[in-house]
Amino acid sequence: GESVGLHLPTLSVQEGDNSIINCAYSNSASDYFIWYKQESGKGPQFIIDIRSNMDKRQGQRVTVLLNKTVKHLSLQIAATQPGDSAVYFCAESKNRDDKIIFGKGTRLHILP
């Protein structure tokens, strides 16, 4: 069945360090994996996505890694800043115009 989940509900990281948020998925038919950031009281905000034919994609301060062998997705945030405090959701979809299946979310705390 369709299922996307995260390994840790909360992650605390020192400001300036790198953050790694992990996610496991189960639907091998998904072609498109996405990371969303949700700040308190706001809607999900797109961070970065990756197609199933790739294993790594980089954005500004963020990198997404996809390991299809073990069905694992991760988000790396370089030099974590206070503004990175939020809940991060991994999600999957068949394509960019299809429904999005969200995972449970990891709350990222930034320590001063």
Binding site: Y36, P44, R96, K99
Partner: protein
């Protein structure tokens, strides 16, 4: 930057009443969606809408729910007879239909059923 706008930001309603949540998707987008998020939980898909009809819906989207695009700009979600468990954040989203860009989400409407 284009954005999806939702109104109202917060709606309080009595159980059994009808509510209509409104959304203005990004103007040149072709796919429209509603999602909901119960407090502290993950975001759940409700329904997708394309070419003036529902393209897919989840088990949550039962006959108490309906969607409509009454004109060229608005996209609405109606809950016919609200229940306490309908209390949640409701997010509207839209995507271009070209598979070239991601879906954009609105800021949400917090629905509280009392």
């Amino acid at each position: 930057e284009p954005e999806v706008t939702q109104t109202p930001s917060h709606q309080v309603t009595q159980m059994g009443q009808e509510v209509i949540l409104r959304c203005v998707p990004i103007s040149n987008h072709l796919y429209f969606y509603w999602y909901r998020q119960i407090l502290g939980q993950k975001v759940e898909f409700l329904v997708s809408f394309y070419n003036n009809e529902i393209s897919e819906k989840s088990e949550i989207f039962d006959d108490q729910f309906s969607v409509e695009r009454p004109d060229g700009s608005n996209f609405t979600l109606k809950i016919r007879s609200t229940k306490l468990e309908d209390s949640a954040m409701y997010f509207c989203a839209s995507s271009s239909g070209t598979r070239n860009t991601e879906a954009f989400f609105g800021q949400g409407t917090r629905l509280t059923v009392v």
